[in-house]
Amino acid sequence: MTPPAATRTVRPEVVTREVTAPRPSWIERATSADHKSVGLLYIATALTFIALAAVQFALMRAQLIVPENSLLQPEIFNRLMSTSAITFVVFGCVPLALGLISYIVPLQIGARGVALPRLNQLSYYLYLAGGVTLFASFLYTAPESGTAALPPLSDLSFSGSNGADAWIAGTALATLGFVCFAINLVVTTRKLRAPGLAWRRMPLFTAAATVIGYILLVIGPAMIAALTMLEVDRRFDGVFFDPQEGGAPLLYEHLSYIFMTGVYLIVFLAAAGAISEILPTFARKPIFSRRAVAGCFAAIAGLGLLAWMQNMYIAPLNEGWTLMAMAFALSLLVPIGVLFYNWIATIWGGTLELRAASLYALVAIATISFGLVGELAYSLIPVGWALDNTVASQGDTLYVLVGGGVIGGFAALHYWFPKMSGRMLGEGLGKAALLTIFVGLNLYVLPMFLAGLEGQPVDAYEYYENTGVDGYNLIASIGAFVLVIGILLELGNAAHSWNNGNRARGHDPWAGSTLEWFALSPPPPHNFDAVPDVRSGEPLHDIRESIAIRERAFVAPAALERVASPVPAGAVEPAADAEAPGGDEPPAEPEAPTGPEAPESAVDEAPADSDPAARDSDDAEDPPVA
């Protein structure tokens, strides 16, 4: 495409011989250890796995639409069943939460990066390798030893194919990745917080993320140990779980339930953290009690993990252990109840703006409440005897996992999408997808609950006529299809909006209160030009306030006015900026970071200039928070 010599004009050139050529953007993204790149990779991969799990789920429900259906062979169904649960939870919901954490948490704590970026990057590739390992098994023989691969069924004598090895290796790789992730996360939140960001001022998503980090450090090694022992049993003549040789299958059951319980808690806590950010922002009111919510996160994690045996009431345990599990499971009522109370009290008295993000958050609260209340009922040992391992408890678990992982995850995605891409996630399609997901989920879970009361077992590829569950399964299958359509709709919405969504109004479209909204959208590699000084739980409100005070005090000389006002406004997004100040925000709302220059100036001057003002607001705000 070189123009003909005659038309070429001579102009100065920059010699780039010594400079490495810019690499294609996908290579840049795949090789960058920047926490935002890693976070986006995590989110994209996790959403892909959620789509895969949704399709697997739809296939399984198609088989179960009528009794004694022969659409899928039992082997095929069992392979789908053995992989779909792990795909949805371990390769979908958890990494989605981790991706959001990787992207948002360093921004929220005002850090320029993470403490151990290469470890963070390694964690993603371990997770990806795990997912590829698991799904590559569909090329030879997919695993078919059940959702948790419980021995002895997953021992070599009962699962002879290599699929079980793929399941073990894939899960172990992903879990190892999560442990690496957790190490980095814990170090980052301990060491890299902005000056003044004490634990009592911690943004709640970061508080939840920190708790998640500690959960992963407990459950990850336990699961890796269990899987290693299982693999040694299978391929290296081990007898860890071989009852004939004195091994204990119950040990694996314990370890895998510790892991599953922890994973469940992670999905719930990530959603709870995101909801605790979204509600105050959209209600324009601070969270009711920051300390109580953060305390609830920690309490839920601790008590929830100790209650892992709540799922094992039917296993051969001593009576004392089951009573202990029941005590811990029931004690969860307190922190979870306080958490819900805080959410409702946060809305109470505020002015709740009903956008897609806040609607997703509200529906997530409702859905999670259905699921957790069911979980409370199953905590009672006799009820657990009746309903554990039936489709009722499965539907109940799905309430929390879909409510937290999918609906809560999409709430978070709607909320932080403008930060990640500079564009809005489609509102209309988002709301339509939410309605579809909510209808589908309820249409699936309610009949499954009734079928579970009749004793329909989980994971079965067929049920029989005249067992009273035909109608329930028909409706549940229809509900499952609606649910899957809703999920795929929202995933398509996200994929489309990434490059084609409406431009976000400025860098802080929601008028958030945490530091990630102080950065540009999308943030530059170093996140912040200057690390802000934090003086309360809502640092961005302080910054806005001090800018407003400064603007009121500043009377521009006539000569400067021409230069001062139009330049930042017209710099990048004329249309967007024209809207921002005159929007529906309260009058005190300044257009804090509107152009690329704005944050720099805000940071350079705000803390220095507005020290007295910020201190005042600190004193005014601190006592109720602390």
């Binding site: 419980l150 009852p243 306080v338 002015t351 009672l380 709301k431 009734l450 004793g455 928070v625």
Partner: protein
Amino acid sequence: MSRRTIPLAALCACLALACLATPAGAVSLTPPEPHSPNAETIQTSYVVMAVIAVLLVIAVNGALIAAVLRFRERRGTEPAQFTAGRGALRPVIGALSVVAVAIFIFGVIATNDARDVEPAGPEGLGAAPTAQVGVKGLAPLQAAAAEAGAAGEEAGAGDSASETSPLEIDAIAQQWLWRFEYPGHTPSDALFSYGELVVPVDTPVILNISSTDVLHSWHVPALGGQVQASPGEVVQTWFKADEIGRYAGASTRFSGTTYPAMRAWVSVVSVTDYQAYIEGQRAALAEAQGAVKAVQDQEDAE
């Protein structure tokens, strides 16, 4: 449709669809009708917890919907800026703790109640083990057996074993069939059945559940809760069927390729029918074993 009505409308639509699509009479909001004291305890616990659960759901979601409807964004309203004062959450924590403790106490009582083996009723076999079924281990059962054995000796030597000792049946799971070994079963004196368990009505039956291969579970909803059958472990459960009939159940632990076939039936019959069944089964099995032995002898001779 305004935005705030969407979740409400969705919920109503779901409920309406669910109601329309299922014949009204077929919907049962409780587990199947219990036919054993422990199943009754489970039913009671379920009903109590269901009521608590529904109340909590209504409380949380009612408050949530009220908050959203009342405090959604309107023109000209300013958000309040209050946060929790000191001790604002204490009443909530206190109330929830009381509820949790109350549920826990109820749970302990219900659990014990479900494990208590009740004595035989008027129409049942005479055995009356006053034991509690341990979750694990045989100690309580052996004590009960000794006690019942002593009682049986006093009653008279004429009764057969199946009439005086507690009706203790070994239920052994394998891929994908249950094998039931009745009292008096020995390798030489075969007394077992596959798939279907036959028991007398009004008689406490103690099941020793184990597995020969992978994990399974015993679950006949009308006769009590689930018990996991693990290889290398013997776990006990019990039931006392109060009505003649046939009760179905299915294993709830995934156990391999044709796992849905892992079903179980319990036929509850009158005591005389039970004794006739046992005698018939013993005779049939002896005959079959004799035939097998004859063939083997023939083969050996050849």
